[in-house]
């Protein structure tokens, strides 16, 4: 009897141990990536696609929702996303999207520790439909939602700019459950990009109605992208978990990672975490670059990539002496950009010769552009233009110039660059420029209302097309155009390029526009093009995104 009991005990014990071992192996098998890329400085302000606007938010939204179109993060091609195909009418204004029919709404269930499909009242799996897209667009256009970014979509959907509330007409229609027709008042080849952006993605009305403003919390939300939302620890981290119901397409494959833990840590804390082995991919803080590059291990794990942004100085063309284009150009020629990228930035940033970051559609690359295209450091030309500027302003010498102020937001980077350029202007033009380092928010409000004579600014592309840069930020009267740059020829060129279907033809128009913006009329002085600064552990495999959001569904961790 005793021996039988003992045998039973032994069997159970062995079974239990085996089970534990299996579950342990299982737990170890889980591929969990811990990353801090694109995530420095605190909680994402929102994870509501309609209310989001910055890199942190878009990074997470790109994994939770997939647009009608999906921008390839490396090649910048527009690929099928939620829509498997589309047709564009002959006049280019009506686009009909065929949606995938196999994408369900999902939510992570903490009790079962699994991602689950959402069901409708009848118990049927709730698929992502054309109506969800129409709902999302109307909701985001509704002034009551006060979406900060929907204005980017507004020009490319009929009724978008005038949309006043739920009863207004909007040029988006569900033909059937899986067919959407978008009508645009204008032809715009890049609109396909915009139709795929985060504020244009489907939303599930019932969860928003039920949970109010907390619908974006993981326990309330409904998403459908390659990853589902597992946990959001505010001010700390967000955890994404593989969504097994995402069908997996060429552009958006099924994730190989089981989970992605996104930490909202300051970059100065990410580095020690990375060195301690607790994070797999991070952004390198600028002040640690020298150490990282000198370290035998870290230097092999460090990489630069393209970041689709430009750093520039704007001139207020309504304030003396920058009412003179010669004067503006003189100040631009006098900036030694390479000295700044080599000595201050040191991470492989590229001296900018024109405004739109190369890599965007419609922009020349540095290799293809003629050597004299754009603007670069040239003391002789600077002096020549300076003399012409003085003449144009009827001034005898530099001493007769009014006092000139360069304003920037008070950060160490802007201050270092400002001081360096201040010295360059002194050396090359003999002009003393005062620096005004303002509290960042004050700075932006001052520039918005009445910008300083020279001011620091930057632009990161919303979508990789020259239209987003030249037309949407430099056209007469647009919000980002702080310096009130206005040139009728420039305006005409970018308007024409916006509706030109042929890419080669558009590129020509944009090249002319760039020439006016940075050289002929010198509305701005481009300074440098950004790069990313990342550290990734050797066992991390993945693409290097140039769009400011990593696609973790294409990443993997080697054993």
């Amino acid at each position: 009897m005793r021996s039988r009991n003992f045998a039973r005990f032994l069997t159970i014990a062995v079974l239990l141990m085996a089970l534990t071992a299996v579950s342990m192996v299982h737990a170890q098998d889980k591929k969990i990536l811990v990353t801090g890329i694109n995530m420095t400085n605190g909680d994402p302000e929102s994870l509501d696609p309609g209310l989001s606007q910055d890199t942190k938010q878009i990074q997470i939204l790109d994994e939770l929702y997939v647009g009608l179109t999906r921008l390839d993060e490396v090649s910048l091609e527009v690929k099928p996303g939620l829509a498997e195909s589309w047709t564009v009418s002959d006049d280019g204004k009506v686009t009909t999207f065929k949606l995938r029919q196999d994408v369900p709404w999902v939510r992570y269930n903490a009790e079962t520790d699994a991602v689950e499909e959402l069901k409708d009242d009848a118990g049927k799996v709730r698929m992502v439909t054309a109506n969800d897209l129409v709902y999302a667009w109307k909701r985001n256009f509704d002034p009551a939602t006060a979406s900060p970014y929907i204005y980017v979509l507004a020009p490319y959907v009929a009724g978008g700019a005038e949309f006043a509330g739920p009863d207004s007409e909007l040029g988006v229609k569900a033909i059937d459950d899986f067919t959407v027709e978008v009508t645009s008042p204008v032809t715009a080849p890049f609109a396909l990009n915009i139709y795929g952006m985060w504020f244009s993605r489907p939303l599930l009305q019932s969860v928003i109605d039920d949970a109010g403003t907390s619908w974006t919390e993981p326990e309330n939300t409904a998403t459908y992208g390659p990853f589902a939302f597992k946990e959001w620890k505010h001010e700390e981290s967000a955890t994404l978990i593989k969504n097994p119901f995402w069908p997996g397409t060429d552009a958006v494959p099924q994730p190989k990672l089981d989970e992605v833990v996104i930490k909202f840590l300051d970059d100065t804390t990410q580095l020690p975490e990375y060195e301690a082995g607790t994070m797999d991919a991070i952004e390198v803080p600028a002040d640690q670059l020298d150490r990282v590059k000198a370290d035998p291990t870290l230097s092999t794990e460090y990489s630069n990539g393209v970041q689709n942004c430009t750093y520039y100085y704007g001139f207020n063309s309504t304030k003396a002496p920058f009412t003179s284009a010669h004067m503006r150009l003189a100040f631009s020629y006098a900036i030694d950009r390479a000295a700044i990228t080599d000595n201050i930035l040191k991470a492989g940033q590229i001296p900018a010769r024109w405004y739109t970051r190369p890599g965007n559609v419609g922009v020349p690359t540095v290799e293809d552009a003629p050597a004299d295209f754009g603007v670069s450091f040239n003391v002789d030309k600077a002096k020549e233009e300076f003399a012409a500027g003085l003449k144009e302003l009827n001034l005898a010498s530099a001493a007769d110039l009014p006092s000139i102020t360069l304003a920037f937001g008070n950060t160490p980077l802007h201050t270092s660059i400002g001081q360096a350029i201040q010295q360059m202007w002194k050396d090359n033009l003999g002009v003393s420029v005062e620096l005004a380092a303002l509290d960042t928010t004050t700075y932006f409000s001052v520039q918005r209302e009445d910008s300083n004579q020279i001011f620091r600014a930057g632009w990161c592309a919303d979508y990789p097309d020259a239209n987003n840069w030249l037309n949407e930020t430099m056209h007469t009267g647009v919000a980002q155009n702080y310096g009130k740059f206005s040139n009728p020829d420039f305006d005409k060129l970018v308007e024409q390029a916006a509706v030109e279907p042929d890419t080669a033809e558009r590129s020509k128009l944009y090249a002319q526009a760039e020439d006016i913006l940075v050289a002929k009329d010198a509305g701005i002085a481009p300074i440098y093009w950004y790069v990313t600064k990342q550290l990734r552990k050797p066992n991390v495999e993945g693409t290097y995104s140039v769009i400011g959001a990593e696609y973790y569904e294409k990443w993997d961790i080697a054993p």
Binding site: P148, P272, T442, A479
Partner: protein
């Protein structure tokens, strides 16, 4: 005593009221608003946002609405969906009436930056973390600082005294922005004894509590030493010694108790400052506490968060000082509240 505490309590509301007016006026006088950012919004969007958050109302109405939503309780019925405008610290379901009537009180408003969170959310989720860290740091500060000060005072003008005060000077003069990363690199990256950052386990709390506590312990040590030295020269100490009392009792019962008065005075504001969060330590150690809101709300012009954090800090300060005053009476029998 009870009357005194009650009176001080009423004073607190007056103090908070005045602080709220001053803060409200100052923050609206600073240029820039919550929606000024690198990528400027078109005028139409700005208008929508200002309408959504009632920033287009006259400034007096904004203030009245703000104070009203905190002070005036509401009874609402029906489905209680949380929205940015309606999030209360107290939600008590009433046992009578039709349609789920609920008594709701104290609404600090939405955060303009975080579109799904309210100031009350921040209080609920982030304040407890800062509070725990603050208490731990205070414990470290007292455990290190007070014994160090006593020791230095007793070994007055000896090598031990100089050594102890040397440590204290070091603690006061090296800012936490230096000590914190040093601790982090040494104990987390090199030795791997404790995690680099984060919050939730005891191990994660050690370094931030030490970094924060050490700097404060230095102040406490110097204060304890100075005050104890002074007390040791008093007549009643001489009397105690003259009547043959053992030195141990003289120090611990008579000297230390009275020597603590200045220390207690500074502990009040120190407590208020520590438990409401500290920006640098929380940022370096990735702790999701309140500290960063004191800074980011101002730089981002997040008006309700500015108001909320400042009123919270003021409340802690007043309450801590009240406790200090009550403690005086216990420490020094000469002090009475009448």
């Amino acid at each position: 005593m009870v009357k005194y505490v009650l009176r001080r309590f009423l004073w607190m509301f007056l103090v908070l009221f005045v602080i709220s007016i001053v803060t409200f006026t100052l923050m609206h006088a600073v240029p820039g608003g919550p929606f000024d950012r690198e990528k400027p919004l078109p005028a139409a969007n700005l208008k929508q946002l200002n309408e959504k958050y009632h920033l287009d109302d006259p400034i007096l109405k904004q203030y009245a609405d703000y104070v009203g939503s905190i002070v005036i309780p509401k009874v609402t019925s029906g489905k209680q969906v949380k929205s940015l405008d309606h999030d209360y610290l107290f939600n008590i379901k009433l046992p009578f009436g039709e349609g789920n009537p609920t008594f709701r009180w104290i609404n600090f408003g939405p955060s303009f930056k975080s579109t799904s969170r309210t100031v009350n959310d921040i209080f609920r989720e982030n304040l407890p973390i800062s509070f725990q860290l603050g208490l731990a740091a205070l414990a470290v500060a007292m455990a290190v600082g007070i014994p160090l000060g006593v020791f230095s005072a007793l070994k007055h003008n000896t090598t031990y005294d100089y050594l102890g005060m040397g440590v204290a000077i070091l603690g006061v003069s090296v800012p936490v922005i230096i000590t914190a990363p040093l601790l982090q690199y040494f104990f987390s990256v090199e030795l791997k004894w404790v995690p680099v950052s984060g919050w939730g386990t005891t191990a994660q709390a050690i370094l931030p509590a030490v970094a924060l506590g050490f700097a404060q312990s230095a102040i406490l040590a110097r204060l304890t030493r100075a005050s104890l030295l002074q007390v040791l020269g008093e007549d009643y100490i001489r009397t105690a010694r003259a009547k043959g009392m053992p030195e141990r009792v003289v120090i611990s019962v008579h000297a230390l108790k009275n020597g603590m008065i200045p220390v207690i005075t500074i502990l009040g504001p120190l407590f208020a400052a520590l438990v409401t969060g500290t920006f640098v330590v929380e940022t370096i150690f990735g702790i999701p506490g309140m500290g960063r809101f004191f800074v980011t709300s101002v730089t981002g012009r997040d008006y309700p968060v500015i108001m909320g954090t400042i009123l919270l800090y003021a409340m802690f300060l007043v309450l801590a000082n009240l406790l200090v005053d009550v403690a005086y009476a216990w420490l020094d029998p000469r002090i009475r509240f009448n």
